[in-house]
Symmetry: C2
Subunit: 454 residues, 2 copies
């Protein structure tokens, strides 16, 4: 069964709705007010909540819905599911209190009941779904506690709701938009593999990032991850790499984390990409959001692959740090071709460093970057533009100029701008010109690595 009823419902029932945001059921209801379809709050104590007619029980919902959200104590969930029989296609069980705290029997009963009534279930112990293009937001987090990222092309898949919210916060801060965000919790029915299958076909999604603590069905996971990876970049962050982490992951979602080394080597074997930590996941996701078509199957898009990087900088030291990180990441800051060295020496002042890194020094002018990019665009696989904005030769004209020459470069370009006075404005302008910007040389190189290691 397609997960459309979950991701793009036309109608929603909320069992456990509340009239106030002081209760989680009220937070969800508030977030559902933005939804364009029908919303049916269920709560026996109110006839109306937040301006919507309310219903005493799930049985009283006036029409079958696509999606029912349950936010009631765990013990009530099986009975609520039975009441929903024939009344919904899919269910999000937001409530916690199941296997993650040792209540395995209760969770088993939920599994069984879900099968009996023939619905797809997300959760339990999950935060649910955010789908901005459908105005769907089932999170029990108010907007002032978690500012949602803008609409974009990154799908965020997370077993943990807490990590999902951390990822969304970091993406929002780094100005990266999302297509969908899914927290799937204990995954008694819908798991990461089902979600990958759905996202592989989702036209709004260009990149998928996935936080995993444990796997239910390893074989299915590999199969779906591979299919997805062949269509779109998929980046996995696996938690529970050590003994204490594995123990913690178990108590957190009630699924065994498994031996990390096994997981790691299987991913490697199937060409599925993994990142080491939270910050690298965010940095890589941002880069891929700008260049989703670096996927191997993409036709006519930006060319990924190759490992030769050109570093163009106006700060010698920043160029050196970037070159060091290239070495660590297996990228090659390859020498300039001899003929280009001769040509650039004629064009540029004698004190510019005509090497790789290409050092335009503090005497730089905006147009020097364009000259360098145009001359060397065919000689490298990826480009790092370092524009330290504290020198006077860097102006707000730079982004527009890079944008213009960018059109002739069919390869990834990323930028590093240090945090200083006018850097915020320059960053906004460069990102509007479709160049992702990073606050350190090393982060920018790691982003290039994510784009080139396809």
């Amino acid at each position: 069964m397609s997960l459309d009823s979950l991701f793009k419902p036309k109608s929603i029932a909320l069992i456990g709705a509340a009239h106030t945001e002081e209760k989680l059921g009220g937070v969800i209801l508030k977030n559902l007010l933005k939804f364009k379809g029908s919303v049916y709050p269920v709560n026996p104590n109110y006839g109306e909540m937040m301006g919507l007619k309310s219903y005493p029980s799930a049985r009283d919902i006036p029409e079958p819905v696509d999606l029912a959200i349950i936010m009631r104590p765990a013990a009530e969930v099986p009975e609520i599911l039975r009441e929903l029989a024939g009344r919904t296609k899919s269910v999000i069980i937001a409530s916690s209190g199941f296997a993650e705290i040792g209540e395995n029997e209760l969770q088993d009963e939920v599994v069984k009941t879900g099968k009996e009534i023939g619905v797809r279930i997300l959760g339990p112990n999950c935060i649910g779904i955010y789908n901005p293009s459908h105005r769907l937001d089932t999170f029990f987090l108010p907007d002032e506690r978690l500012k949602r990222p803008k609409k974009g092309n990154v799908a965020v898949v997370s077993q943990s709701g807490a990590i999902l919210s951390c990822l969304l916060g970091a993406l929002e801060t780094s100005n990266t938009g999302v297509s969908k965000a899914i927290g799937y919790g204990n995954a008694i029915d819908i798991n990461e593999a089902d979600i990958y299958e759905y996202l592989a076909k989702d036209r709004n999604t260009g990149v998928v990032i996935s936080y995993i603590e444990s796997l239910g069905d390893g074989r299915k996971f590999i199969e779906k991850a591979k299919i997805l990876s062949e269509k779109k970049p998929l980046l996995i962050l696996k938690a529970g790499k050590g003994v204490s982490g594995q123990a913690a992951a178990f108590s957190h979602t009630g699924r065994l984390a498994g031996k990390y080394e096994v997981f790691h080597s299987i991913l490697r074997q199937f060409g599925i990409r993994e990142v080491d930590d939270f910050d690298m996941l965010i940095d890589a996701a941002k880069a891929l959001a700008y260049y989703p078509s670096v996927s191997p199957l993409a036709k006519g898009g930006i060319k990924g692959g190759g490992n030769r990087v050109l570093i163009i900088t106006n700060g010698g030291g920043s160029g050196v740090l970037a070159a060091d990180e290239c070495m660590r990441q297996g990228l090659e800051a390859a020498k300039l071709p001899e003929d280009k060295v001769e040509k650039l020496k004629r064009i540029f002042p004698h004190f510019y460093g005509i090497n790789n890194p290409l050092d335009l020094t503090a005497q730089v002018k905006d147009e020097d970057y364009v000259t360098a990019l145009n001359e060397l665009r065919d000689d490298y696989d990826g480009f790092l533009v370092i524009a330290l904005s504290n020198v006077l030769g860097i102006t707000e004209r730079l982004p527009e100029m890079i944008k213009a020459c960018r059109a002739n470069i069919n390869k990834p370009v990323v930028s590093h701008i240090a945090q200083s006075g006018i850097s915020k404005k320059l960053t906004v302008l460069l990102e509007k010109a479709k160049i992702p910007v990073y606050p350190s040389p090393e982060k920018a190189v790691r982003a290039l690595k994510a784009l080139l290691s396809i």
Copy 2:
């Protein structure tokens, strides 16, 4: 000769002063207007600049000064130095155009002239000095291009002016204050070793971070770095670790970078601490700024050392990521003592995860952190408090409560708060309560590592 005339001058001459900020000599003059002592601008074309009486040449300065700053074309510098004979104790040569672009003879002449007239020289090709407690700012960067960090205890030493400005921008962004910032460029006289010697005795400096591309006198560097390290935490970021980076470092300052492996193993041998990249330098500097007295020689301060870390979290996944990073960093997220497990199980709700990470779940209340810290303060060497602020149980009371129990914990405590709605406010409050805050679990663990690996 002490470097006091350089760091704490009573009077300054600026040769190459300009009347407008469109020229670098004007930017410096503007920055010197905040200085409390006498300032004598030198420029033959003006009788007055920015409200200060101006002098035609260095010979016309009305009294001997402590510090002369030269911002004139490289070729003029030897003659200017001769004019300064007997008129200054120290000189900052901000001008570039020396060995870094192959003008070795000119640089040699400057070295010789400096010795003849008996002055200490910082530079050439350097950005100079920022000493907020003395209101001294010789940078040729306007404040709107580089917002200066607040006054604090971190001294920033950098061969490269560009990297110095990047470091200052990043420290400012991370709310970390500085005691002194020094860019020493080509280092023909004063080099990193002289500066370490000075900072070892500087009472305003509690921590030193140092960006190095190349060394002049390796033996002296080791000697002074060792002395400094024994008094205060010293963190070194060495650029030019690979072949292309080393070539770039050479063209940038005209000093050979040397084989990195040799440098690395010598530092290790002498117990001098190195970090891998820019972000780790900033994160560690911030941690040490809060806990400068983790130095081995410090008496009665915070106890550093040991590698047992307790992770207290309200987000299971964040705790797992932190535990993974502990493993990578050689820190031990050691089990809770059995008796404490029993006790905490009686105190906390049954669904809390009484392990390490200690998972307070989304049902957390502020006071749970205090309970955990008080119960376990004697069982670990360092503490990581993860407070994901998107759940309603985390309030603005938390920082004050942690501050109160903090007083009884004589060991490092750091915090991770994810980027979201109220996180900025919470971060400000926690940092006022003297707990450094980081935006990812892994960064927070690396900060703890910097505090424990003393």
